[in-house]
């Protein structure tokens, strides 16, 4: 098979996505997919525009966004700090490694009601469940990144008579950056899932709650409009992370 010229790949990818959306549009418009199951993509856009026009969704969107960002921040900072600490304590690490590996096999979500009991019905249990899902991904990535710091770079640091703090900041941190970014991406994804799903189950506000209400009311336009809003937000958040990642080590990434 001859390989595609690089400049065609991007446009082809966009074309595939557009074609798939177009196919769904046709299936909906021709009645193959009935409107109680799913509304046409174009109708979703119209619904979203209506939702945004009324402005009622503003407080809920802000609620969800701040909770998500808070969960991401907690996951990333706590995951990094815990990862760095565990990396420095090999014995502790031997004990908890299997636990970390099994972490995502546990449906962490079942603890959401416990968190509500602990924190009350407000934004705290949402941030907590989002962070609980994200933190271990960040922690494992931090451990992985620190493991991969080449020994020769640490030897070089010794030759420069650097202090442990300086080695951490100027050698280990940049050397582990690729894995740390993987951790941030995981934390973003898991935190979003955690906060939204929490809102969906039980919450006083938020996009997840609005989605649940629309779902129970069989209000498909609102539900799909909100779905589109959530997807767009998630894509934007991920795009920001990818952009940062590329800016930071696009040029020095080893090929």
């Amino acid at each position: 098979m001859t390989s595609l010229p690089r400049r065609f790949i991007g446009p082809i990818r966009v074309a595939v996505v557009i074609a798939m959306i177009g196919a769904v549009e046709i299936l909906c418009r021709t009645g193959v997919i009935d409107p109680f199951t799913m509304i046409a993509p174009s109708a979703m856009v119209v619904a979203l525009v209506r939702i945004l026009e009324t402005g009622h969704i503003g407080p809920d969107a802000a609620f969800t966004l701040t909770n998500t960002l808070a969960a991401i921040a907690v996951s990333v900072v706590l995951g990094f700090v815990l990862g760095a600490i565990v990396h420095g304590l090999p014995r502790l690490r031997r004990v908890i490694t299997p636990l970390l590996a099994a972490y995502y096999a546990v449906p962490t979500f079942v603890f959401y009601p416990v968190l509500i009991v602990l924190f009350g019905l407000n934004r705290l249990p949402l941030i907590a469940i989002g962070a609980a899902l994200g933190v271990v991904g960040m922690m494992v990535s931090t451990l992985d990144g620190l493991d991969r710091v080449p020994r020769v770079l640490l030897k070089t640091a010794t030759a420069y008579r650097m202090t442990p703090f300086s080695v951490a900041l100027r050698i280990k941190l940049p050397a582990a950056a690729p894995q740390l970014f993987t951790g941030v991406k995981l934390a973003v994804t898991y935190s979003i899932i955690g906060t939204l799903a929490g809102e969906f189950i039980l919450s006083v506000a938020g996009l997840g709650r609005r989605l649940a209400i629309a779902y129970n009311d069989l209000d498909n336009p609102t539900m799909y409009g909100l779905l589109l809003l959530v997807l767009t937000t998630v894509v934007v958040l991920n795009a920001i992370v990818f952009h940062c990642e590329r800016r930071v080590y696009r040029r020095w990434q080893r090929t």
Binding site: L153, K155, T156, Y160, A175, W252, Q253, R254
Partner: protein, 271 residues
């Protein structure tokens, strides 16, 4: 046997230095280095050659202060080397040790900035070192954009810029092809002449040792010790042309005479 006697200007002394790995765990451990003694005259180019696994790199790590020996003592310019790399010693490793997140220029400037040197002086010294190593056109490049040989030049420039009085090189050209090695060897000689530094080069290449050195220490198979020390007799202005000299052939033959049996022994011994 120890390389020749103490001179008035001794850069480095290793006194009955030995090392056993893994002793602390209660096991007998693996003896990497027998009791090795060594004296380097200030300004000399000394190479250490030996079969693989003979403890050459362990010796370098000990001399550099990166590894505390289980026996013996090392002193640099009369002061004991203990616990850290002394000021005045520069090290070039076999593996690529360039920082991939810094440009060539920033890589070379790294050590000077750590010393808190003034920016103008940093720029002056870095520009010189970068130019000296033929990296002038690549100052703004990242290591990933360079070949293996170029990256090793970056590491040498990074060491050179600190103006070390003793330069330790641990098989720095091991990953490079033969032609590049010869040229890098010439550059190393040029650097040695200009800086008046003492050089200790660890190598497994007979040619490299014979061409570059004032003296060559030949090590035995593990546990390593010096079985002979050869004086090459080259002038300071030597370059790769010496490989055409009859003496070059004699030197490599003599080294191989010592090393053949040792290398066989290294091959047969368990890893």
């Amino acid at each position: 046997m120890t390389p020749h006697g103490p001179g008035p200007a001794t850069a480095l002394t290793a006194d009955a230095v030995g090392h056993v790995f893994g002793q602390a765990a209660g096991a007998a451990g693996v003896r990497a280095l027998d009791r090795v003694s060594l004296e380097l005259d200030t300004g000399e180019f000394f190479s250490v050659i030996g079969p693989s696994g003979c403890g050459k790199s362990t010796l370098l790590d000990i001399v550099a202060g990166l590894l505390a020996p289980t026996e013996g003592r090392v002193s640099f310019e009369g002061r004991a080397v203990a616990g850290e790399v002394p000021e005045g010693i520069g090290i070039v490793f076999q593996e690529d040790a360039s920082f991939p997140w810094l440009t060539v220029w920033d890589n070379v400037a790294f050590g000077l900035r750590r010393q808190g040197m003034e920016a103008m002086e940093v720029a002056r010294r870095v520009d010189y070192a970068v130019g000296f190593m033929g990296l002038g056109g690549f100052a703004r490049h990242y290591p990933a954009q360079l070949s293996g040989g170029m990256r090793q030049r970056v590491c040498i420039a990074r060491t050179l810029v600190l103006q070390p009085r003793l330069i330790l090189l641990d098989e720095p050209f091991g990953a490079l092809d033969q032609q590049t090695r010869l040229l890098m060897g010439e550059e190393l000689l040029r650097l040695w002449r200009e800086t008046h530094a003492t050089v200790m080069l660890i190598t497994h290449s007979l040619d490299e040792a014979a061409m570059l050195s004032d003296r060559v220490g030949v090590m035995s198979a593990r546990p390593g010790r010096f079985i002979s020390t050869l004086a090459t007799g080259w002038g300071r202005d030597r370059d790769s042309e010496v490989i055409k000299d009859r003496r070059f052939g004699e030197l490599t033959a003599e080294m191989w005479g010592y090393l053949r049996a040792e290398s066989m022994r290294a091959l047969k011994s368990p890893a």
